[in-house]
């Protein structure tokens, strides 16, 4: 029973990480942008849920998606678009953005953490499994399904995949790559906002909320393979479950070290991640 419980905690943590990593894997995979400010979109989503907690969680979800997504597009238009081809520089650039956003949150909402009360219909649970964590799991799977449909069935999604595989070729075939980039940022940042709302069900909300999750999310992207939906799903759940079991058997501080070692070991077998986009390019 303890094992089942631990499995469930790991899976729901993996679900949150998956929501975060989904956005990253596309912005990283398609544009080569290492967006450190992605964590702050999570934070913005969480504060949206905090502000809207009287109205309801189901309203907060789309609102957080739109706010975080809009901010993502603004960031892309104003700054990141000048940095294509300079992936490593975007990291420092977006770290600056992330500092500013964190300080803004600190000045608006105060430095201490705030709590969001879960809505009444999410209190309680099935046996030891709380409804709130089940909700997160369902939410993440729904988002994955929506993204999968978007990528395979819809024209915009197919364009996105085309740009991801080969930007120049997509451009000469008539895909407006700039528009696709904006849409990718809207989607990716919006998903981070949704993840932020989900996180309020697990713990308190603070200005530096995003920094706790961003490193793990990047690891998932690396382990899953850039821009690969399936890879992100498997890597996220594997990391969540592994983390929760190592925490259970040893202690929380060792878990991160073990997870890191496992990922480095895994990269020995598959240096490009779980699923590789096969191309003939040398690098």
């Amino acid at each position: 029973m303890a094992i089942l419980n631990q499995l469930f905690i790991g899976a729901s943590m993996g679900a949150v990480l998956l929501l975060i990593a989904l956005g990253l894997t596309f912005t990283f995979g398609q544009m080569g942008v290492i967006n450190m400010a992605h964590g702050e979109f999570i934070m913005i989503g969480a504060y949206t849920a905090y502000v809207l907690q009287g109205v309801g969680l189901l309203v907060a979800l789309p609102v957080a998606f739109l706010i975080a997504g809009a901010l993502g597009v603004v960031l892309e238009r104003l700054l990141i678009r000048r940095f294509y081809g300079r992936a490593l520089d975007t990291l420092l650039l977006t770290f600056g953005v992330s500092l500013i956003l964190q300080q803004l949150a600190r000045d608006i909402f105060g430095a201490p953490n705030v709590g969001v009360t879960a809505p009444a219909w999410l209190t309680g649970g099935v046996g030891p499994l709380p409804y709130s964590r089940i909700f997160i799991l369902v939410l993440a799977l729904a988002c994955v399904a929506a993204i999968a449909v978007y990528l395979t069935r819809m024209r915009q999604g197919r364009r996105m995949r085309a740009v991801m595989q080969n930007r120049q070729l997509a451009a000469v075939s008539g895909v407006a790559t700039e528009r696709v980039d904006q849409l990718t940022f809207l989607l990716g940042s919006g998903l981070a906002g949704v993840a932020g709302v989900a996180l309020t069900l697990i713990g308190p909300v603070g200005p530096s909320l995003g920094t706790y999750y961003i490193v793990d999310a990047f690891l998932i992207v690396v382990a899953g393979g850039l821009g690969r939906l399936g890879g992100a799903v498997i890597a996220a759940f594997a990391l969540g479950v592994l983390n929760s079991f190592v925490e259970f058997w040893t202690d929380a501080s060792l878990a991160k070290v073990v997870v890191f070692a496992v990922i480095v070991a895994f990269l020995q077998i598959r240096p490009q991640g779980l699923f590789v986009l096969r191309t003939r390019a040398l690098t």
Binding site: L92, Q103, F218, V222, L254, V257, F260
Partner: protein, 349 residues
């Protein structure tokens, strides 16, 4: 230029009050880290986001010895008593020996970097992937330090280091000697980096940064080059960390995590990652501004910091050193040929 700076630094103990001198010594520690970052990132293109780990390994190796020496033979360091540890952990025992501790200052970071570098670079994991991994290492390291309270002093880290091999660190004379130690280490590291850049390895390193595959086709192994230089930069960070302990008296996770590691890197970016002098100057300037402004205007400093990163990346990717260099060459050109129109570009046939 170099001479003026060197003379000023040499004369600093006579010019500055003890408190200022301690701060300057702290910034110079960061400058030592910056030299390593210049090698790894500026010359080698390896964006290492986890220098705090190596800084911490060196620092804890030194700090553990100093804490044990402070406690005296057979006694336990203060924080272990507070957290209820009764016998000295086996991990700590060898650090009683000063030679072992001093060796570990360099060995621990070097071996960690060699291990990670071999595993990662050999599999051609590079660029952003490497950056992400090194950052994850920093995150894991700090969580480990905080979690193992009885072994590492937890969130507080190692505090109240008072004596450094018989020197009283609360005494201005002791502070002065430590300052000269830091300055000497910086000079040694500076010369080492300069020599390395001029050597065959240094030129290969730049070649690997600019075209890893071409270097491989020429018959070299880029993984070896990168791993070696990564280890050198780690060793430099370790030395800096070890000196940081007697200078500041405290070393804890707050000095080592993801954000401090990024700050070490950003300081180099602002000064100019491609230039050795720029990296050192950037580190000193950045931490000077950080100490001065973060205490008086914490909120405004964070905004300024963020804006600074953005501005540097947007308009001066080569940092202050790059701005200086292009300014100087502009001046020189104007002086050399006042009326001449720009020479027509040669058109390749």
């Amino acid at each position: 230029m170099f001479l003026v700076v060197a003379l000023l630094l040499l004369a600093a103990p006579a010019l500055l009050p003890a408190f200022r001198l301690e701060l300057l010594a702290k910034w110079l520690c960061y400058a030592i880290v910056a030299v390593g970052i210049h090698l790894a990132w500026g010359r080698g293109g390896m964006l290492t986001l986890g220098q705090g780990v190596f800084f911490g390994l060196g620092g804890y190796a030194m700090g553990m010895h100093l804490k044990l020496a402070d406690a005296g033979p057979g006694a336990l360091p203060d924080f272990m008593v507070w957290s209820g540890v009764e016998t000295l952990p086996a991990l700590w025992a060898p650090f009683r020996d000063p030679v072992f501790a001093l060796a570990m200052v360099v060995v621990l970071p070097t071996v960690t970097a060699l291990l990670l570098g071999t595993l990662v670079f050999r599999q051609r994991v590079r660029g952003a992937y490497f950056a992400v991994l090194s950052q994850a290492l920093a995150a894991a390291f700090v969580i480990l330090l905080v979690g193992q309270q009885g072994l590492t002093g937890g969130t507080n880290g190692l505090t109240n280091v008072r004596y450094f091999f018989g020197l009283d660190l609360y005494d201005p004379a002791g502070k002065r000697i430590v300052y000269y130690l830091v300055l000497g280490a910086l000079l040694a590291v500076f010369l080492a980096a300069w020599q390395l850049s001029r050597s065959r390895l240094g030129r290969l390193l730049v070649a690997v940064r600019d075209g890893e595959d071409r270097v491989r086709f020429l018959g070299y192994d880029p993984a070896v080059v990168k791993t070696l230089v990564y280890a050198v930069s780690a060793a430099m960070a370790g030395i800096a960390g070890a000196l940081f302990v007697p200078v500041v008296g405290i070393l804890g996770p707050a000095d080592l995590g993801v954000v401090p590691s990024l700050e070490m890197l950003v300081a180099v970016a602002i000064g100019g990652r491609f230039s050795l002098g720029g990296a050192i100057g950037g580190a000193v300037l950045y931490h000077y501004a950080s100490t001065g402004l973060s205490e008086t205007f914490p909120s405004a400093w964070t905004y300024l910091q963020g804006a600074l990163f953005i501005a540097v990346m947007l308009w001066a990717p080569r940092g202050l050193a790059g701005l200086l260099a292009s300014g100087l060459s502009l001046l020189r050109r104007r002086r050399a040929s006042p009326p001449a129109a720009p020479a027509p570009e040669e058109v390749p046939a």
